[in-house]
């Protein structure tokens, strides 16, 4: 088993090096470096989104398509408050609070009604919820040029020739910190143990007396806070358009699939790899047209690779 893991890592490293060399061939190293760092920057956002999705999926079995919409609602309200001149840190907290409330409303009121349905039904229900949130947000804030900026945008450091703002570094660091934090929470706390138990077998967990509603509410809460933070990052680093932020959940799910909706470290690596490959594809006249589908092709390849004779990702019990 350990040999198989090592083999997977070896194949991954060789594939990444080969891709970087192939796409960067004939280009100055400085240019390749610029695109590489730029890709890491966007990849960290895919990873951040993916981590939020996996955290909830592991505890509740719900693949939440509404994460992006909750983040979009939060950051739009933060922008509105900032536009009215309200103190910046308060607006950021508002963004996180709004996403938390949206997540909890779904987690407490709607999700329990679907608790015994198929995972696909649960996922589609969250997509419907996402579209409702998006509709409300689009109704309140009509299409208009806007920009959401954080003070950390003003400070930057140069990495391989590319100026990277502190906001991007925060997004990157947050991805790693959330992975570490969630790992310790799941493996070193009682609620974490209960979450893992729920994810493993909800029926059995209920029989064992695990307070399902309480544990799931905590999971939805954590997911909401991550969604709020992710929304702030997307609003600042991608653009302040609710539609775009809402559907960032799609490449984020591709990153989550790279970790088989289970392994947060793989989600992080998958997201970063997607960003880098997508960015480096720009260097190829032949392949730059396929950039938008790159995350999904990568996710499909990873899925096929891992599914060799193993359990199905979406059923979890095969």
């Amino acid at each position: 088993m350990r040999n198989l893991k090592h083999l997977n890592w070896m194949i991954y490293l060789i594939a990444m090096v080969a891709i970087v060399l192939f796409l960067g061939s004939g280009k100055p190293i400085k240019i390749v470096g610029l695109f590489f760092v730029s890709g890491l920057a966007i990849g960290s956002l895919y990873a951040l989104g993916g981590i939020g999705i996996v955290v909830l999926y592991r505890a509740t079995g719900v693949l939440n398509f509404a994460n992006g919409a909750a983040g979009a609602a939060g950051v739009m309200l933060a922008w509105q408050f900032a536009d009215w001149g309200i103190w910046g840190p308060f607006t950021w907290l508002v963004a996180i609070f709004v996403a938390l409330i949206i997540s909890l409303v779904y987690g407490r009121l709607i999700a329990p009604l679907l608790a015994w349905r198929e995972p696909v039904v649960k996922a589609v229900a969250t997509l419907g919820f996402a579209l409702i949130i998006l509709g409300i947000v689009s109704f309140i804030w009509e299409d208009d040029p806007r920009k959401f900026a954080l003070p950390s945008d003003k400070i930057g450091v140069y990495i391989l020739g590319l100026r990277v703002t502190v906001t991007r570094l925060i997004a990157f660091a947050a991805s790693i910190c959330i992975v570490i934090g969630i790992y310790f929470y799941l493996y070193h706390t009682k609620v974490g143990l209960q979450m893992r138990s729920l994810a493993n077998d909800r029926d059995l967990s209920a029989l064992l007396g695990i307070p399902i509603l309480k544990v799931e509410t905590i999971a939805w809460g954590i997911s909401g806070v991550i969604a709020g933070f992710t929304g702030l990052m997307f609003g600042d680093l991608i653009r302040l358009e609710p539609f775009v932020i809402t559907f960032m959940v799609i490449p984020s799910i591709a990153a989550a699939v790279c970790g088989r909706l289970d392994n947060l470290i793989l989600v992080l690596i998958g997201g970063l790899s997607m960003g880098v490959i997508e960015s480096l594809l720009t260097l190829s006249q032949v392949f730059k047209g396929v950039r938008p589908i790159a995350p999904f092709v990568i996710a499909a390849v990873v899925l096929l690779w891992y599914q060799r004779g193993r359990r199905l990702t979406f059923s979890g019990t095969d």
Partner: protein, 417 residues
């Protein structure tokens, strides 16, 4: 934006109710002050309004003008029944909308259409049905290269050319990098014209294409920079262009390049959204008269919008072009024999006969003609984003490109030159 405009609208309503003050004087159609009666003349309008974009400003403004016309004698005493459909950026819905208006309702013409989708889907339908679309918010090639569509707005190609020409002549640009949408009849089509212009003038150019929902705009920016561009042309909707400028701001690229854009960045919300960093550094082509130009039509447009449009309806370039299309349509209909105004074939012919209509909102004359292409508006203004607003840096100027040779030939034939 609703949260901003709602209190303002309520306040305006209260003030209006208590003071009894009327709106600024409007001038619409026959301007008789008598409400039109009788059998309505059916006119259609199709816009796209769904995330990620709202192109309804043109039909909003046309509706406001038609309402004003109906309150002022209509068309030979008869009201205009203006029916608006939303294609929601869906080709199937766009085809259904055209079918509903052109075949089921029997509209005599379409006015102020605005969409990314509708024109590509329905150009053939309009030709087959022998109906003219006097569009107002066009963004794709089919809108300008079809027999039965003519628009008052320029679309990206001329507006790009205007910005590129100004940068080459005034800002020392030698290599223009155009970042456009990865939509064949929009981005590549309109970027290519600017690259050709630079090549014709001894310079060079390249393009990088972005998907409308692309999260990573920085790669397109880096691609253009790695191509050796000294000037960045942001041929994008305002939201994406702001994202590109934000990515450039992150990397502190402002002073190393010239930053230009076509009309979408000519929006009163843009200077505030960009912030002080970009003050005085971004140059934008305006395809219709900038808002500070207060000619008779510009004043009437504002008065009509205040009197007949909703407070939250945008007062932007598309609203100007929608108003213009509606005024030209009404002028043409009033000049027709009243017996013919229900006859679609005769209305279509009358629209094709339009020549030499002028407005202070447009730099050149408006005409239609009987050809497979229409682009009457190919001159404009150049403005600079400065002090939280826009400053005119070049008054009306005609755009120089081989693309306009056939258009200029028609203008000569019509005696407009």
């Amino acid at each position: 934006m609703k949260m901003k405009t709602l209190p303002v609208a309520l306040l305006a309503l209260v003030v209006f109710a208590f003071t009894g003050q009327s709106h600024a004087a409007t001038k619409c159609g026959a301007n008789t002050g008598v409400t039109a009666k009788g059998k309505p003349i059916i006119v259609g309008g199709i816009h796209g309004n769904a995330p990620p974009g709202d192109f309804s400003a043109s039909t909003d403004a046309a509706k406001a003008y038609f309402d004003c016309v109906n309150a002022n004698g209509g068309i030979h005493g008869r009201p205009i029944d203006y029916r608006i459909e939303n294609d929601q950026w869906n080709p199937e819905l766009a085809a259904q909308a055209a079918s509903k208006l052109v075949i089921d309702a029997g509209a005599v013409a379409l006015v102020a259409n605005g969409s990314f989708i509708e024109m590509a889907v329905n150009a053939g339908t309009y030709k087959k049905a022998n109906i003219m679309s006097m569009a107002a918010a066009c963004a794709i090639s089919e809108c300008f290269e079809s027999s039965n569509i003519v628009s008052t707005n320029q679309g990206p190609l001329p507006s790009n050319l205007g910005a590129t020409q100004y940068a080459q002549e005034e800002l020392g640009s030698k290599n223009v990098g155009c970042i456009g949408l990865n939509i064949p009849n929009n981005g590549p089509w309109s970027c290519k014209a600017s690259i050709d212009l630079m090549k014709a003038r001894g310079g060079s150019g390249s393009m990088a294409l972005l998907n409308p929902g692309a999260p990573d705009v920085n790669s397109a920016l880096l691609e253009i920079i790695s191509n050796g561009a000294d000037t960045i042309l942001m041929n994008l909707p305002a939201g994406l262009a702001i994202a590109v400028l934000k990515a450039a701001e992150e990397q502190d690229l402002r002073d190393q390049y010239v930053w230009i854009a076509p009309t979408p960045l000519y929006d009163l919300s843009v200077p505030k959204a960009l912030g002080k960093y970009w003050d005085g550094k971004v140059f934008v082509n305006a395809e219709l008269a900038p808002f500070q130009i207060g000619g008779p039509d510009a004043k009437n447009w504002k008065a009509v919008m205040d009197a007949y449009a909703k407070p939250e309806d945008p007062r932007d370039t598309f609203a100007q072009s929608g108003y213009l299309s509606a005024t030209f349509f009404v002028k043409m209909m009033l000049a027709m024999n009243p017996k013919d105004i229900d006859n679609r074939a005769k209305v279509t012919q009358a629209i094709k006969n339009i020549s030499g209509y002028r407005s202070d909102l447009m730099c050149g004359p408006y005409y239609v003609g009987d050809s497979d292409f229409h682009m009457p508006n190919h001159a404009g203004y150049m403005v600079q984003i400065i002090n939280g607003g826009f400053k005119i840096v070049r008054e009306c100027y005609e755009f120089d490109s081989a693309y306009f040779k056939p258009h200029i030939a028609i203008e000569k034939k019509l005696g407009l030159r």
